[in-house]
């Protein structure tokens, strides 16, 4: 089935099974690989992206949901985005695999919580990291909030 949507601002049409998770459509069909597979059950957040400004875990959303909508992946955030800049400044990544999901979660979170406390971040960003970068992520989200105001 043909499904048309915008990916990082560009119109695209895919001819795929409408039940295919958005994750695989983005990664395998569009070759945008920043969005990662982590658990397949919306538990870890490695596949987090934005659809029409909403934050979604794309492993558990069928591609047909994106029809006619705007999908944004980490590749679609500019290098100057406060979240990317804060992640650079705080040198957050170790293995780096979960970081795109965290950054996409943070970018969405900051739109709702422009002045976040630690507790806000801890309650709302529930992604999983195994290397143990959580302490830097906490700092980076707060730094991104500061950078957003400049």
């Amino acid at each position: 089935m043909k499904i048309s949507f915008k990916i990082n601002g560009q119109e695209t049409t895919l001819d795929v099974d409408p039940q295919m998770p958005l994750l695989w459509a983005v990664r395998d069909e569009l070759k945008l690989t920043a969005t990662k597979y982590g658990c397949g059950k919306a538990l870890c957040g490695a596949c987090t992206l934005h659809v029409d400004g909403d934050m979604l875990r794309s492993c558990s959303i069928p591609i047909e949901y994106a029809s006619g909508k705007n999908v944004t992946t980490l590749e679609g955030l500019p290098e100057s985005h406060p979240v990317k800049q804060a992640w650079m400044e705080l040198q957050v990544p170790q293995c780096g695999y979960c970081q795109p999901g965290f950054m996409m979660a943070a970018a969405h979170f900051l739109q709702i919580h422009p002045n976040p406390t630690d507790a806000d971040i801890q309650t709302n960003i529930t992604n999983i990291c195994r290397c143990g970068t959580q302490s830097r992520i906490l700092k980076a989200v707060k730094r991104a909030a500061e950078l957003s105001k400049k």
């Binding site: 990664r27 040198q91 293995c95 780096g96 195994r130 290397c131």
Partner: protein
């Protein structure tokens, strides 16, 4: 040129030396001495004998046309920051800027092959001297090249930021390479003294930072070949089970399925898309022959002190006699640690492209050399025809030192005649893995009438972790008759107690076990250091002072460095300040392959749960390479340590792992982040490991803090109140 000839000529070309300049290889057998030192250092660092007879120098460095320097790393980047460390070492001797350094993994067809793989917190130490020696040699080769072009004595030439200079004359390394046809090879030059270091010891940003933040970093499952198909395997649901029957009819009719392959007792679905493969695999109907239905309690009973092969790994004085005779009190306790799983965020996976000429295997592995042999054997081809190409590893922790699905993926590519991507599902990652083995520990001490510790014994029971899966290796691993890497690692007692002994009870269990970050140090430190906290409590001493009082041997450098770590912990953690109400403090140390790690923690009980409030981590790394990288590893170890102490546990029911995905295997999250303070000490002449040592002390320090707070000792991980 045919594909075959290309490969052969490339092999011959590469055999000639270690450094590529201007498309030609320079310096036959250059790097031989540094490489020998690398192997020897690795062997020393890991307490392993190593075979260097088959060593062959290969490509390490290349000056690129845009005056960048490419270093091919034989050790893999899995988050620990080794690429950055190596770039610093090279930049230091080459006199180039960090921005000019590029680091890639060596692939096995044209690069350095490291038979030992990556692990054991040994990558920095083992190549600290060799990389600098090769870089210094390369710098001198370039200077000799420039001297010939300018017709000046080499002593008049200086180097800075990748530029050669003599008086007013300047040329970049790349220009020198382009203008030189014949190279002169110097003796290995002397290395810079520490006083002249520009990068070593200074904060340097990760060389892979930007690519990982921008989302362009490539991992195994990100790689793609034209005409690639996707596969998924029918997972074996029970340990040691064999496939009895499988009905593939429904899967074969599933949309976009290309083929259902059955081979060597396994079944895989190959399809046009990942989704089609995963969907079709759900429709396979299989029955299994299960040799036995193992239960958790049976496994725990198998792994019990007193059962299996007894090997004494430490004997000082006569602890047994002191424990059994004379006055004083015998204090004895038992500890257990559970099965663990690595749970790297990147699941195991392989992309294989097998043609008649070459088998390209894209795989994030800690063991490229062993993998190459296994693939060659499975495909029935020469090892030279296997090229293991390594992208970034999305976490390793030991898991990627053990086999995933590489052999099956390579075979599928051979059968299908096209590239295949096959990844584990998260469920397979949880249930078809190698697990950190559970352990059982019994510790006994003789407490004298005045509270002194006269004797201590540690008996540890563990299943074999290492010997089972290391194949095709020349390493004689079975030293002492025990699985000494895992069991012996941390089993011995550091403290200067006159009578002490450590004994390992080796056993085998019918489920796959393997190396997990920190190996034996993790369970052993939990048991031994928890027991030390109990002894301090029992003798009414401060847990930190108690330890310092047992580090009395001034000739024992490890003991003295440990004492120093404790002194710094005491000063910096606020150990002697008044404790807030409802807060407990605990301490622990670990001596892990010459790095000394110490943790002091503060905990509280919040809503009935243990909450870690503060962690002060001190790490004596010997010599500091990149403080920023070390801090990052220390912080990571704090979080993984908290996760292990409070949450992580793999259990078995009916020969299956009970956990299928993250909802059944809780781990530390942002909500668990304590106030973390990291302090790095340097008290030796070489940079020791940082990836594993800071992990081990966290859990026993937390247990010690609970003891301090509640008077109750928790002797089993994860800690439950």
């Amino acid at each position: 040129m045919t594909e075959d000839k290309k490969i052969n000529s490339r092999r011959n070309f590469l055999k000639r030396g270690a450094i590529v300049l201007g498309g030609s290889m320079v310096a036959s057998y250059l790097g031989c001495n540094p490489m020998r030192r690398f192997v020897a250092q690795t062997a020393e660092g890991m307490d392993l004998p190593a075979d260097i007879s088959s060593f062959n120098p290969d490509f390490w460095f290349q000056i690129l046309p845009d005056n960048l320097v490419l270093l091919k790393s034989p050790k893999v980047e899995m988050g620990q920051g080794i690429f950055t460390g190596y770039a610093m070492m090279a930049a230091e001797e080459l006199n180039v800027s960090m921005e000019q350094m590029r680091v890639e993994h060596a692939n096995t067809a044209s690069g350095i092959e490291d038979a030992l793989g990556t692990g054991g917190s040994n990558s920095t130490l083992s190549l600290f001297k060799p990389i600098r020696e090769m870089a210094a040699t390369l710098r001198e080769i370039l200077k000799l090249g420039a001297a010939a072009i300018w017709k000046v004595p080499v002593t008049q030439i200086t180097t800075q930021n990748g530029v050669l200079q003599s008086g007013a004359q300047k040329m970049t390394f790349a220009e020198c390479v382009a203008a030189t046809k014949k190279w002169t090879i110097p003796e290995t030059p002397a290395l810079k003294p520490a006083s002249e270091f520009k990068y070593i010891g200074k904060d340097v940003k990760r060389i892979d930072l930007k690519t990982k933040v921008m989302g362009t970093a490539q991992y195994t499952i990100d790689s793609h070949f034209p005409n690639m198909a996707y596969a998924t395997m029918l997972p074996c649901p029970y340990f040691k089970a064999t496939l009895k029957t499988v009905n593939t009819a429904a899967a074969e009719k599933s949309p976009d399925v290309l083929k259902v392959v059955q081979k060597d007792g396994w079944v895989a679905v190959v399809a046009k898309t990942q989704y089609a493969a995963l969907s079709a695999a759900q429709k396979l109907e299989a029955t299994w022959d299960v040799p036995q239905m193992l239960q958790q309690a049976e496994l725990e009973a198998m792994v019990t002190v007193g059962k299996g092969t007894e090997v004494n790994v430490q004997k000082v004085g006569n602890a047994k006699s002191v424990l059994e005779n004379g006055s004083g009190k015998v204090y004895k306790q038992a500890f257990r640690t559970p099965f663990g799983t690595h749970a790297p965020m990147e699941v195991n996976g392989t992309v294989a492209h097998v043609t008649k000429d070459i088998a390209i295997i894209v795989l994030g592995t800690q063991q490229p050399s062993i993998t190459k042999s296994l693939v060659a054997k499975a495909l029935g081809i020469n090892k030279k025809m296997v090229d293991i190409q390594i992208p970034f590893l999305g976490g390793g922790f030991g898991r990627k030192g053990m086999m995933g699905n590489v052999v099956e993926t390579a075979q599928l590519s051979q059968i299908m005649g096209r590239p295949i991507k096959m990844m584990f599902t998260r469920e397979q990652e949880f249930q078809n893995s190698f697990y950190r083995p559970l352990t059982h520990h019994v510790l006994s001490a003789k407490i004298g009438e005045n509270g002194d510790i006269q004797a201590i014994t540690h008996d540890q029971a563990t299943p074999d972790e290492v010997l089972k899966f290391v194949t095709g290796s020349t390493l004689p691993l079975k030293l002492l008759g025990a699985d000494f890497i895992s069991a012996g690692h941390g089993a011995s007692l550091l403290y200067n107690i006159p009578n002490k002994s450590a004994t390992v009870w080796g056993t085998e269990i019918p489920m796959p076990v393997g190396i997990w970050r920190g190996v034996g140090m993790y369970p052993n430190t939990f048991a031994v250091e928890s027991f030390m906290n109990e002894l301090a409590h029992e003798t009414k001493k401060d847990a930190l002072d108690f330890r310092m009082g047992l580090l009395t041997d001034v000739k024992d450098s490890i003991a003295q460095r440990t004492k120093k770590v404790l002194e710094v912990l005491k000063e910096k953690s606020g150990w002697t300040t008044a404790k807030p109400a409802g807060v407990g403090r605990g301490v622990s140390i670990a001596n892990d392959r010459k790095s000394i790690a110490g943790s002091a923690v503060e905990v509280a009980i919040v809503e009935g749960k243990i909450k870690v409030l503060r962690v002060t981590q001190v790490l004596d790394v010997g010599m500091i390479l990149n403080p920023e990288g070390i801090r990052s590893q220390m912080e990571g170890c704090v979080m993984m340590g908290i996760s292990g102490a409070l949450y992580e546990e793999v259990t078995v029911k009916d020969s299956q792992v009970s956990m299928s995905n993250f909802h059944e295997f809780p781990m530390a999250t942002l909500a668990d982040v304590p106030d973390i303070q990291t302090i790095i000490l340097a008290n030796a002449q070489e940079p020791y490991g940082v990836g594993e040592p800071p992990l081990a002390p966290i859990a026993p320090a937390i247990a010690g803090a609970i003891l301090d707070l509640t008077g109750k000792m928790l002797r089993q991980l994860p800690l439950k109140i």
